[in-house]
């Protein structure tokens, strides 16, 4: 069992990812696909006159400001355009994909943050109307039900809160929770860089291997979006996932390349 997360950044070749999923399923691999949609969400939000904003938490993580209108646009892009676009591509590759959000069957459930403590222009500020949270439980029964019946689950945020509200969650950390719940041997996290970079965006500074017992150290190297990626990887390994690989989604056969150790291997 492997879980593949493909990001939503510019430059990612979703067609190559879908072809690779089909090839792996043909080899008998059991697989769940998780995806993002951040770049298109930025574009659509801007086009609809509700431009994206990003927050930096007091602990240094960056997240999308998700008011109710952003959540609506987020669902349009992640669950509509991107999820159904991937399902259509997979169906054309002969894969009987089923696209689902974390709301559907409470696949991704967790706690919404009552307040976000952020740093804005050097000052602390508290935000109360943000629909953001963290996945705490995964409905592995529904994923296994689909897998056992020949369907490939294609999963995307948002998640559902314990109070039944849709909420934005980090896709990498959600994929880590899915991998843990399904007892996956590997979690492959694909983005538009070759892996974790010691000096982002210099691709020649690729970190080839991180010892999970020394992940805290790697966190210090990780910058921006990469920090949350390392956090997700550490969480996955702490919960029993054998290995996490950060791979490049801009190349041919991106999943098989990552499985062969191309990228940053943790574990």
């Amino acid at each position: 069992m492997i879980v593949v997360k493909v990001g939503g950044s510019e430059g990612i070749d979703l067609g190559a990812v879908c072809r690779d999923v089909a090839a792996l399923l043909g080899q008998g691999q059991r697989l769940v696909l998780v995806h993002g949609g951040s770049h298109r969400t930025n574009e659509v939000a801007a086009a609809l006159g509700h431009p994206p904003e990003f927050l930096t938490s007091v602990s240094g993580y960056t997240s999308r400001r998700t008011d109710r209108e952003t959540l609506r646009i987020f669902e349009m892009v992640y669950c509509g355009e991107v999820n159904k676009g991937i399902v259509e591509m997979l169906q054309a590759e002969g894969v009987n994909a089923v696209g689902l959000s974390g709301l559907d069957g409470r696949l991704l459930e967790g706690r919404r943050k009552d307040t976000l403590k952020v740093i804005e222009n050097g000052r602390r500020r508290v935000i109360r109307d943000d629909y953001t949270g963290t996945v705490e439980t995964v409905n592995a029964n529904l994923l296994n039900l689909l897998l056992d019946n020949g369907y490939l689950p294609v999963l995307t945020p948002p998640a559902i809160s314990t109070g039944n509200e849709a909420m934005n969650v980090d896709g990498d950390r959600a994929a880590a929770m899915v991998a843990a719940a399904l007892k996956a041997s590997q979690l492959i996290i694909l983005s538009n860089v070759p892996g974790l970079l010691r000096e982002f965006p210099d691709e020649s500074t690729l970190i080839r291997h991180i010892d999970p017992t020394r992940a805290q150290e790697a966190m210090e190297h990780a910058q921006g979006r990469m920090r949350i990626k390392v956090l997700g990887a550490v969480e996955a390994i702490q919960q029993g996932v054998g290995q996490v690989v950060f791979g490049d989604a801009r190349i041919a056969s991106p999943i098989q390349a990552a499985l062969a150790g191309q990228g940053t291997v943790i574990g």
Copy 2:
């Protein structure tokens, strides 16, 4: 087993529909929900600078002009905003809903029209790049798998073509195919009018009952969008659905009202 279709026109109270679904499930009713999203698609398409266009076929049916860009917007609204909005509302009512499009698991599959023959300004014209078609088969296995495991399927167009392309299909006729495939006793079609009207939009001209053997006659009364609704009803009954009711989605308990015979009953 009943299939409920709720339209996407203005004035529909989706909250009341969701509360009624929860009440019926509480009574042990087996149910599938199908929905539309036309009004919001018009609004979002206009906001994104790709305003909606409608075509009239040579046989007198009206349909949305669905070029590839419209299909993308259609998926954003139907599969993203509306589908996930309904799933969120149902989850808040304690219903473990799973939102799916016709692409997912090939739930709604059919033939894409190679060409559309339309009337434009009194002239015939042929359109070749339209993503529109008709549902021919329904994946009843996947719907029953979800139902048997305690999930409520919430189904929306688009469908998938035999050539693996997403395509716009009429939601009412899709619901009729779903009702037939699931051997439903009743198909309830809810919209923003009390039922079929002899003189649209005069609500005092509500047709209370149509004998299915005389449906052709009713087709002559039906105008605009109502024509395709009658066609869907006739198809459902021809395929073994016991009864079709056109009901009002603007009232409290709209499904239970329709089941009690409020609206236009066919069969």
